[in-house]
């Protein structure tokens, strides 16, 4: 931590005398993914929060309410009447200058869809946790990534995490990214409902001063536009033609910048806290691999285990864990995948109209740069169906035979089709 950051940390502490002493020291705790999210959010000192419960996210809002009640969180906490309002509240609060936070999942995420688009269009640097769950249609209180996927063109930055520690850390990094003057785009931090939300793991909970220090550089930037009483300004005024086009262009290029920025923030995080996750993508044994599996979220742990097993059997295989889905890490994926012999993509959601996985469809768009090699879509892990070691081994078998020149099926619905 630099001197300036340390100073800032101390200064803040003095100011907020209501605050307890619980988080004055870095501590190791065994907590769930939801609890990690609540801790991460609280440590970033959000000023306005809107909270509405939904399985499997509920624990996040309960725990944050607890932080507020105990005095650990000094903020405006709105116990809102629905997610649509939750997103509208934090968007406007952010426009008025607040650091703002909310958390949701599935039905809640799609219920706030109009407000989600507005938050992105208004370029408010808010952070939201989305605990991945299947969406309305067939009622399924279960895990899956369809919720996040269905908002992929909303203009948000979307990050996918895979452990309780990573959830906590990613929220801190998310504020650094969202509030960066060159970015100013809302960030959605995703993690798997049920698998990660309720899983208790060892988590290092950083102390307040360290988090303050990490976020301190945000204070040294130029001021973003803020709506203040007595200072005439229109927030979200009507714009058409060139004006609209220009805003869209700027938004889109900010997302492009966010990719490298996220890598840099990951490195800065490592310097500050000693942990890093690879930025946009996390690669595992890919350097000399012929075949690569692409996955995201909690199933990556299982996939990693299968990679080790197969490596022991002499197979040259590696894993890419996608950490950033929007913006799509094109450059880093191309760099890692160029020259490989076969690629398998595991999706936990469906790209309707393409009868394949959405992440697979997007990777296919990189074929001109990667090379026209066998690329396969594996749909698995829908509605709490476990992506087991056996399932991934089956994927690897398909991948291997395709890499050896055998004919292959482009899309496999694991669990629907017998081997």
């Amino acid at each position: 931590m630099n001197a300036h950051a340390r100073l800032l940390g101390c200064g803040k502490k003095g100011m907020l005398n209501m605050e307890g002493t619980e988080f004055n020291k870095t501590k190791i705790k065994v907590i769930t993914g939801n609890s990690a999210a609540a801790h991460g959010a609280m440590l970033c000192r959000p000023e306005v929060l809107a909270l509405y419960p939904i399985t499997p996210q509920t624990e996040v809002v309960e725990e944050i309410s607890g932080f507020y009640a105990s005095g650990e969180l000094d903020a405006e906490v709105v116990e809102v009447e629905g997610e649509n309002s939750a997103m509208n509240i934090i968007t406007a609060a952010s426009a008025a200058g607040a650091r703002a936070f909310t958390a949701t999942s599935s039905y809640g995420l799609v219920y706030m869809y109009d407000a989600l688009l507005q938050a992105a269009g208004y370029r408010v640097p808010i952070v939201m946790v989305n605990v991945n769950r299947e969406t309305p249609g067939i009622t399924a209180v279960s895990s899956g990534q369809q919720d996040m996927i269905s908002t992929r063109d909303s203009g948000w930055i979307q990050i996918i995490t895979s452990s309780c520690q990573e959830i906590l850390d990613s929220i801190i990094m998310a504020y650094r990214l969202a509030e960066d003057f060159d970015i100013q785009v809302p960030v959605m931090v995703n993690y798997d409902g049920f698998y990660l939300s309720y899983l208790a793991e060892k988590v290092e909970v950083p102390c307040r001063a360290d988090v303050d220090g990490f976020l301190a550089p945000l204070k040294d930037q130029p001021q973003r536009p803020i709506l203040k009483p007595g200072e005439p300004m229109g927030f979200g005024t009507h714009g058409i033609l060139e004006g609209y086009l220009e805003l869209r262009y700027k938004h889109s290029t900010a997302l492009e910048r966010a990719k490298v920025k996220f890598d840099e923030i990951d490195k800065a995080f490592e310097r500050h806290f000693g942990r890093s996750y690879g930025g946009q993508i996390d690669t595992y044994r890919t350097a000399d691999a012929d075949m690569v599996l692409v996955a995201s979220g909690s199933l990556s742990g299982t996939a990693q285990k299968v990679i080790d097993l197969k490596r022991d059997q002499g197979l040259k295989i590696g894993l890419i864990r996608l950490r950033m889905f929007r913006p799509f890490p094109r450059e880093r994926l191309i760099e890692t995948l160029r020259g490989k012999k076969a690629i398998g993509v595991i999706d936990r959601s469906i790209c309707f109209g393409w009868n394949s996985g959405p992440i697979y469809v997007e990777l296919r768009a990189l074929s001109p740069e990667i090379g026209y090699i066998p690329m396969m879509s594996f749909i698995d892990g829908i509605a709490n169906m476990d992506v087991s070691v056996a399932n991934i081994e089956r994927m690897v078998r398909i991948l291997q035979s395709a890499s050896e020149g055998d004919s292959y099926q482009k899309v496999t619905w694991i669990g629907m089709e017998e081997e």
Binding site: E47, V48, A50, A75, E76, V78, E79, V80, E81, G82, N84, S85, A86, M87, N88, I89, I90, T91, A92, A93, S94, A95, A96, G97, A98, A100, D114, A115, Q118, L227, K228, P229, G230, E231, P232, M233, G234, F235, G236, T237, H238, I240
Partner: protein
Amino acid sequence: MTNRKGGLSKVFDYFCNEDPFAEGLSPCPGCPLELALRLLGKILGSQDLVMTGTPSCSNPVMTGQNVGAWHRLTAYCTLMTGAAANATGLSRQYRRSGQDATVVCFNGDGCAADIGFQALSGAAERGENFIYVCYDNEGYMNTGVQRSGTTPIGAKTATTPVGPKQRGKSTRRKNLPLLMAMHRIPYAATATLSHLEDFAKKLLKAKEKKNEGLAYIHLFAPCPTGWGVPTHQAIEVCRNAVRTNYFPLWEAEKGIFTLTHQVKKPKPIMEYTRLIKKYNHLKEDELERIQEEVDYEYEFLRHLTEFRKCVATKHQTAGE
């Protein structure tokens, strides 16, 4: 309008205040929205005013549809769904950061009574600190005069036309100001543009009361274009709405109701409906039905105003 001794009504003083809106606004000719907005700006003053507006007839003025905003105010453009939620977010942050602000939602009935009602009711229940002004033109006017929850029974709109099988809207209007008062918020009131002094007082009271929780003003604002009212007669329509008890003027503080304007001898509803083309098709029995609706609602309100007496004797603190 009650005159002050030896001079003009107080409301004329407000007209001397600075007008935060540009000259020549963009509503239709004769639309009372312009008067409403200008007066609101002059009364509340622009120094701490933060206005929010939705897609609606106020949109061209508030957010400058196709041109540029027509005012020098701090303004935030909301969605129809989340207007009250946006105002919540703004006012919470101003409260937290210690900035004086009068956040005002200026929305149509379509937002307030229908699509944005959840957010409005939620904000009322939580006691958010802002003013919500619903200008009621009894329909979705910006999209071309469709029915809304506050469109009255019998009224002709683009989606409740008149033909052999339909006689305008078949269900009664939602009494939104009453619903809001039933949240027992610190301040709920009705107002209209023929009674400007009353409107002005209510706005100022709302500004004061919003520090205790949500303040709500339901502003009756006829739509000359959509209702078929000559451009010079919108204010006359407002006046007759009050005289017939179609739109009584009242206020409620934490559920304690007071009539702010007593109509000694209410005129028959015909005095009101005859000015408006959207009622042209109505026959005598249909008008009687509307009269019954008006009588019922007024009687209901009158009973509510009497409730104050029981509260005063039985539970001294109920209104606190």
